[in-house]
Symmetry: C2
Subunit: 410 residues, 2 copies
């Protein structure tokens, strides 16, 4: 017997029929003798409905009250799922974040979990009940209702799994796992049976939006094995999907686990900046002050004691960034500011590259053979990213997917 925490997202509980189907699945796990704790999101569409109600009153609703409002979404789901379980003769009990003391800080709308009191849940589990907990929500020290921000239910599930020392935290969603790359771009993409936390973090932040990145960090920190599964497949308890866990010595490592990419990139370059200490801070300071998140940063020293400085941002921030940079360029006496919104980032990710030389050169060679011009390069311990022209995205991803042996046939 093991203790499993399962999380079902908004589409998985999006209708009464879907909720009934989740109940069937949960009972399947119970019948195999497992203890089960369920974390659910609001029914799909419900959070948006509530946000619209709030916006009809105030474009910028008070954060504390927005949390009180939004928390009702998950509360509806826990009640309905518990009813569906009880109807099938499965003892169940629902709890709001408040009731099981999911204690968070007081940052309304994006609170962070501080602590969970697992006593009440353990007692129910020991009495043979399935426990259904509202995801996405908690309470601060003085009992105010808080929410964790969009996608926070994944984090709720992982935090509960950590507090209960669960054997596994299963995240049910509308895809059946993590793929080597987006199957819409590369039909040969295959599902990964296993991936490490670090790889998943690189994949997630690079655009494979299967899991909330905070939940993966959390799982990694507390060593909670995470599994991504589909709630839309045949009811049953076959353990498939993708397991995300720590790297194990005996694991046979693939060189590369996957190819991630991001279409929403734009870059801004300041040319001919008089080189002096602190220039990077002077350029990036005003950008950070405007709450624009910078991704890749590259600085080359030119021959004439000036430097060229380039960084990438989200395309939505392009116009604002360009304006700020032109202002800064005047102050610094830089020659020119240019930019480009027709770029994308393609990354290869894999813990295997730590112990294998030549991965980068294989990547660059593959792209060169296809005639793809690389605009920027950035590397980390388990990832190499390149920026290329938008039009080369699909070509680049497919070529790399094949070159690193990720296709299903290989």
């Amino acid at each position: 017997m093991s203790l499993i925490v399962q999380k079902y997202g908004g589409t998985s509980v999006g209708s009464v029929e879907r909720i009934e189907s989740v109940a069937e699945r949960v009972i399947g796990w119970r019948e195999q003798g497992h203890q089960v704790v369920i974390v659910v999101s609001a029914m799909s569409g419900e959070t948006n409905r509530l946000v619209e109600l709030a916006k009809a009153i105030h474009e910028q609703p008070v954060p504390r009250e927005l949390d009180v409002l939004l928390a009702t979404g998950e509360q509806v789901t826990i009640a309905l799922l518990s009813m569906a379980l009880e109807k099938r003769g499965c003892a169940a009990r629902s709890y709001t974040g408040h009731q099981v003391h999911i204690r968070t800080d007081s940052v309304h709308n994006k609170a962070r979990i501080v602590d969970i009191d697992d006593k009440r849940i353990r007692k129910d589990l020991d009495q043979g009940r399935v426990v259904v907990v509202a995801g996405f929500q908690g309470m601060d020290e003085t009992g105010n209702i808080t929410t964790l921000g969009r996608g926070g239910s994944d984090t709720s599930a992982v935090a509960l799994a950590a507090a209960l020392q669960a054997d596994e935290c299963q995240i049910y969603t509308d895809v059946d796992g993590v793929y080597t790359t987006d199957p819409r771009v590369v039909p040969e993409a295959r599902r990964l049976d296993h991936i490490t936390y670090e790889e998943m973090l690189e994949m997630a932040s690079l655009g494979a939006k299967v899991l909330q990145i905070r939940s993966v960090e959390f799982a990694s920190k507390y060593g909670v094995p995470l599994r991504v599964l589909s709630s839309f497949e045949e009811t049953g308890c076959t353990v498939a999907g993708t397991l995300i866990s720590a790297e194990e010595a005996e694991m046979e490592q693939a060189l590369i686990s996957g190819i991630a990419f991001n279409r929403d990139e734009a870059k801004v370059t300041m040319l001919g900046v008089p080189d002096q200490p602190g220039v990077a801070h002077k350029i990036l300071g005003p950008i950070a002050d405007s709450n624009i998140e910078v991704d890749m940063i590259i600085q080359n020293i030119a021959e004439d004691a000036t430097t060229d400085f380039t960084f990438t941002i989200h395309r939505n921030d392009y116009d604002k960034s360009l304006a700020i940079m032109q202002e800064t360029a005047k102050k610094l006496g830089a020659r020119e500011v240019t930019g480009d919104t027709k770029i994308v980032k393609v990354s290869i990710v894999g813990v295997g590259m730590r112990s294998h030389a030549g991965i980068a050169s294989t990547m660059f060679e593959t792209l060169a053979t296809e005639g793809v011009n690389i605009r920027m390069i950035s590397t980390s311990e388990i990832k190499i990213s390149v920026v290329v022209d938008e039009k080369y995205l699909e070509l680049s991803v497919r070529a790399l997917h094949e070159a690193f042996g990720l296709d299903q046939s290989t």
Copy 2:
């Protein structure tokens, strides 16, 4: 400065516009220097929507989970109203029943309030905030969410007013007070400025459905002055409506405060029951066992050592009652069971009748003059009820309304 608890029902908060209008009204009271605690119901239609969701899962949803589900209705309203207040620069804070420890017993779906911890609310009031509390809900000793049953928000408001020793508990609804009788039957009916708890209890239970009867009992028990007002009239803080409070010595008592009536009556009679000790119990026992509520009960001793036994019930229970009575009649050797569903009950209510003789005879004389045949009579200290044929309802109510000087002109 006084402390006022105001309750707004479902239609008073039925839309964003209505909620904004409530906010304006509350701010008017604040500006007069009063401390204000607001109790709200779910937006009209919301509770039904939630019940339908539950019924789609199970015709008889688990009571505990139904409470978790229904409690979200009021939680949405408290958040929206607090946002509307804050938007207007009025500091406000919302609380669920759970958060302000409205402690109830554990009878899900119709819990009774046991205790309220007023500390948190007092603190907010002292800091100049308006406190917005979810009506209809509480929590039991172990922290389970409970609801008080339909109309429970009135009771929440009165209980809060009692706990806070408020100066007045104002119930805002879609009528502007308690009338001498239903104005749809008697256009000359006038609004009462004042009525006692006892009179209101008799009026409410007899069909003037302005207030939840439990809330009146509660107010009476704790001496909370209750005021019924319309939330649909011009925004402003004129104290109108009907005040419901204890009888005061110096109050000039009208003989009769109002004429109540009930259209949903039916009666069942058992004729020729051999008279013996315990016969009433033998007849009414099986009725009570079937959860049928009996209203008036009359027993006459006939000359031949048999008795005739009549009682009234709700029309919905008529068929069931008749069947049970026929069964019982066989066992007791009674002659016959008859019944009638075309009857109504008309009552005159007033604390003044305690000290004035002749009220009953005026009533009977008035009805006789109009040719109305009285089928049953029942009296209490402050009320006289008669059962008459359905077709005489309007005639009886109008004649009595005039006879006791209740018309607007008098």
